[in-house]
Amino acid sequence: MSRDTLGEFEKLVLLAILRLGPEAYGATILREIEERTGRTVTAGAVYVALRRLEKKLAVRSELGSPTPERGGRPKRFFEVTAHGLLTLRAASREWNAMVAGLDGMLERDA
């Protein structure tokens, strides 16, 4: 797998970060994916994806200040880099190109 292609789950994580904006950290990313897709996701899968995305320079992270409602532990906030956004756009273009014209078929099941 080349450095710049994204796995399926990695795309979901990237999209979740974009949706969450400044509130994107481990716990919210996991909830966002679970709520939107209806899948059960293990925390481990999210952290592994985040590690890989960070290695691919698609996201960067920053440690926040300690928060009392989490037992006084800090949040690690994630944000999509410009490079990450480009890669995601490319993936989205490919997807849309393939889906174009099939809307009816794909919607039926939803």
Binding site: G26, A27, L30, T40, T42, V48, R51, R70
Partner: protein
């Protein structure tokens, strides 16, 4: 915040251990946040299960990203796995039980090993603490503690230690409460607390002045005593406790975590030593020292060895020549060795043993999975043909293995917790650091790693099986029962052979232990422990200041005990057998003076009353027993034990000769030998009895008489159950002196049983391990033989149709099973022969390669293997050829 808001603490600790420091806090925070969200949405139980799931899965994604991408733990995969487990409840139950037993046993023993052997001692920089002791092999003494004289010279002249200390323990009568109490005290030079690096939490530790002979009588009390007696009040400092009738002022309270030599101690008292006037003293107190940074125990030992001449210079009683004749050497060992002592070997052997159990369990589950994998080849082929992603399929298998291993691991953890509870109640009292044993973070980590390893091992098996199997081939092969592959069969047979081999090794270990224990039961005790009550009584020197009052009291009390209905005979001695007391003194012969510089042989000394020998059934070999007049008139007579006679008189008649104890320059009063009695083991069952000299109670012995007679063990042989007379004995004592407490009330049988407790403990643990190993091994053998037989149903059907007799078919299947068992036994015998020598030091009068054990356990294993093979053989012989052939 209530604790219910928090995620499960154990799971959280497990995660904290596993997570790399960089990510730990943020991830734990994320999980805690989501735990709360889940709790609010779906309730506490489901949230806890979710959290545990994350914790158990953690090792996989923390250490193996690839594993995590395969084990998605997605709802779909879990549901699929659960369905496949439900479809084969037998497989699931056997696999879970096997794993739970294997992981449970390993975790339980690891908890013990971890607490007893691996954790550092709870003192400041424990690696620098060393024990100072001596050996005198020239006079057959393997370990001598330190003495005041040695301590002083070592303390002043060594170049290796920051500081040295002496310590010991004693008992005292504590009065002033509702009832008089016998309490245990520690004694120590003031330096002990600095050496250990412990400070008082209230008040202070001892000052140097309090360690001088005329210093103030002060006490440091333990945290437990402080809580029990003073309700942990600040006013305890400065209060006075009456010990043996004398006041002692409390100057400090020790921390709750502090424990040294004995968890039952109530207080510490200073050992009084004045460097200016001190005498050499006996070799009675162990020495402890703190090494200077960078100094090794070996260097310190060499340093102290060089100081022995200086000891002699300062204390001429111990001449250089005597040291040489006694082969006196000094030994400096890490203090941890003293604490864990002889259980180290036993525990490592147990740890090795349970790892074998775990290996057998893993082999069993691997085998079960292999069988399953064969059965599912078609399913996999079909799904692959229909376009299923192979990676995803493997992920499902891994998910299954992982769920299996985790569930087995959690069950095992529960089993271990229960097992440890049992262990704490059953374990020998002398297992050190017993109270620290528990499921700690290290233990959880150990279990997690075990589960991870098990997952990888099991998970890989079906994946390997399927990777090589061509889809087309598996699909083409239409018949259901005939997919047995050569490779799979070989792998399974190998697994079973190794199971049998491991089981045999376990059986040999427990067999050797069993034989040792049997030998121990046969040890000629030299006394009859049946129906004897024993207890200890100490007379405080304040109320009983001299030999007259002491003797009068003991004789009067003995009279009262003997008057109790049901008591046959009663007696006293300084120490009863098997209580581990080893103090010895030189024995001198009047008509054969010790050569200058020579070292007289040493014997144990005891005071005894006439009834002692009768109550214990110690036989008289020649001469006469002690008589009441000897005690009353305190006559200068003694009895010797057979071994003492053999050592000193070399075949000549000892009767009528005069002996004395003490050092050659200053012998005590001479006493005439009037009788010889049988030997009795005073120290332990496995050591041969020491020569012993018995003085009559109350002998006006200048040095030793007083301390030998003020604290005595009473023995009473009864015609009724021994403990039934305890209340009457207490009443009789109260009539004589209501201020005296009775201690150590036990039957002599109990004393004897305890002496064998540690070996018994090791034996039971090994026997349990061996039984589990044998069970799992035979289940494995049964499983493989019945599987193979099922696979051969058609072939056997054909044979039967062609006229093969039932007996022949049975023999054929049996032969196959027994060949596997025989290979396992052969391999196991070789393994046991190689490994059993590690057990040598804990065996007693049994060789590590004892042929009886080796042959015996092989026979047991062969019989069990035959039983495990018989059932499939029996079934094979009853195959209905018509049915079997119709399957084609």
């Amino acid at each position: 915040m209530s604790t219910r808001d928090r995620p499960p603490a154990v799971a959280e600790r497990l995660l904290a251990l596993l997570l790399p420091a960089k990510e730990r806090n943020s991830i734990l925070g994320d999980l805690e946040e989501n735990y709360r969200v889940r709790r609010a949405d779906r309730g506490g139980a489901r949230a806890r299960i979710w959290y545990w799931g994350q914790a158990v899965a953690a090792p996989l994604w923390i250490w193996g990203e690839r594993g995590a991408s395969m084990i998605t733990l997605s709802g779909q995969d879990i549901r699929y796995a659960a369905r496949s487990f439900r479809r084969s409840p037998g497989f699931t139950a056997v696999a879970l039980a096997t794993l739970a037993l294997g992981i449970g046993a390993t975790t339980a023993i690891f908890s013990v090993v971890n607490a007893v052997l691996l954790e550092g001692l709870p003192y400041q920089e424990p690696d620098r603490l060393v024990d100072i002791s001596h050996t005198a092999l020239g006079i057959d003494i393997e370990r001598l503690p330190s003495s005041i004289g040695m301590h002083l010279v070592y303390g002043e002249q060594n170049r290796s230690f920051e500081e040295v200390a002496l310590y010991g323990n004693t008992t005292a009568n504590l009065t002033g409460g509702d009832v008089p109490e016998r309490v245990r005290l520690g004694v120590a030079t003031p330096s002990l607390f600095r050496v250990l690096g412990v400070d008082a939490i209230r008040g202070r530790t001892f000052t140097e002045e309090e360690g001088l002979p005329d210093g103030p009588a002060v006490l440091l009390i333990t945290h437990r005593f402080w809580t029990d007696r003073f309700g942990a009040g600040a006013d305890a400092i400065g209060q006075t406790l009456m010990l043996n009738g004398l006041p002692n002022e409390i100057v400090g309270v020790l921390p709750e975590s502090f424990e040294f030599i004995d968890p039952e101690l109530v207080a510490w008292r200073p050992i009084a030593v004045d460097p200016a006037t001190a005498e050499f003293g006996g070799f009675n107190q162990p020495g402890l020292a703190r090494l200077r940074p960078g100094v090794t125990p070996e260097q310190a030992q060499a340093d102290l060895a060089g100081l022995l001449p200086a000891v002699s210079e300062r204390f001429p009683l111990l001449s250089v020549e005597m040291m040489r004749n006694a082969a006196l050497t000094v030994e400096v060992r890490p203090y941890i060795d003293v604490v864990v002592g002889n259980v180290r070997t036993a525990l490592w052997i147990l740890m090795g043993t349970v790892s074998f159990v775990l290996l057998i369990a893993c082999a069993n589950v691997a085998n079960l999975l292999l069988v399953r994998a064969e059965g599912r080849q078609r399913e996999v082929a079909l799904r692959t043909a229909m376009g299923a992603d192979r990676g995803h399929l493997y992920g499902q298998f891994l998910t299954e293995s992982f769920l299996l291993a985790s569930a087995g691991g959690l069950l095992g953890l529960g089993l271990a917790t229960q097992g440890l509870r049992l262990l704490r109640t059953l374990g020998p009292d002398n297992l050190p650091r017993m109270n620290q044993i528990g499921v700690s973070g290290d233990v959880l980590l150990f279990t997690a790693i075990t589960i991870l390893a098990a997952t990888v091992v099991f998970g890989i098996i079906p994946v390997l099986r399927h990777r090589d199997a061509g889809t087309a081939a598996a699909l083409r092969d239409g018949s259901r029962g005939a997919t047995v592959s050569k490779g799979g069969q070989r792998a399974r047979t190998l697994l079973v052979v190794s199971q049998v081999a491991f089981a045999l090794i376990l059986l040999v270990g427990s067999g050797l232990m069993l034989r040792s224990f049997g030998r121990l039961q046969d040890v000629e005790l030299g006394f009859d422990p049946e129906s004897v009550l024993t207890f200890r009584l100490s007379l405080p020197s304040t109320s009983y200041p001299d030999m007259e009052s002491t003797t009068a009291f003991h004789l009067a009390f003995l009279d009262r005990i003997e008057a109790i209905p049901g008591v046959d005979v009663a007696g006293v001695s300084s120490f009863i057998p098997l209580t581990g007391f080893t103090a010895v003194d030189p024995l001198l012969l009047e008509d054969r003076p010790t050569e200058p510089g020579g070292v007289p042989p040493v014997v144990a000394s005891r005071a005894a009353s006439p009834g002692y020998f009768e109550a214990l059934g110690i036989p008289l070999r020649s001469g006469r027993m002690l008589e009441r007049a000897d005690a009353q008139q305190r006559l200068p007579v003694v009895l010797l034990s057979e071994r003492a006679v053999a050592t000193f008189f070399e075949g000549r008649d000892p009767l009528g000769r005069n002996v004395a104890q003490g050092i050659p320059q200053q012998p005590d009063a001479w006493s005439q030998v009037v009788g010889v009695v049988g030997d009795v083991p005073y120290v332990s069952l496995t050591e041969r009895p020491m020569g012993t000299v018995y003085f009559p109670v109350g002998r006006a012995d200048r040095v030793r008489g007083m301390w030998l007679s003020s604290s005595l063990d009473y023995v009473a042989r009864t015609a009724v159950p021994p403990t039934s007379i305890v209340p009457v004995v207490r009443r009789a004592l109260a009539e004589l002196d209501p201020s005296l407490p009775i201690a150590n009330i036990r039957t002599l049988e109990e004393v004897t049983r305890r002496a064998g407790a540690q070996m018994q403990f090791t034996m039971i643990m090994l026997a349990i391990a061996a039984a589990v190993g044998l069970l799992l091994g035979s289940v494995g053998l049964y499983g493989v033989i019945s599987y193979v037989t099922t696979q051969r149903t058609q072939e056997i059907g054909v044979r039967i149709a062609l006229g093969a007799e039932a007996g022949v078919v049975r023999a054929m299947v049996m032969r196959q099973g027994m060949a596997v068992a025989a290979a396992g036994v052969a391999l196991g015998l070789f393994g046991a022969w190689a490994l059993s020598r590690f057990m040598e030091s804990i065996l007693y009068e049994v060789s590590a390669t004892d042929p009886v054990t080796f042959i015996g356990v092989s026979a047991v294993l062969v019989v069990v293997a035959a039983a495990a093979t018989w059932l499939p053989a029996y079934r094979a012989a009853r195959i209905d050829p018509a049915l079997a052939l119709r399957q084609e």
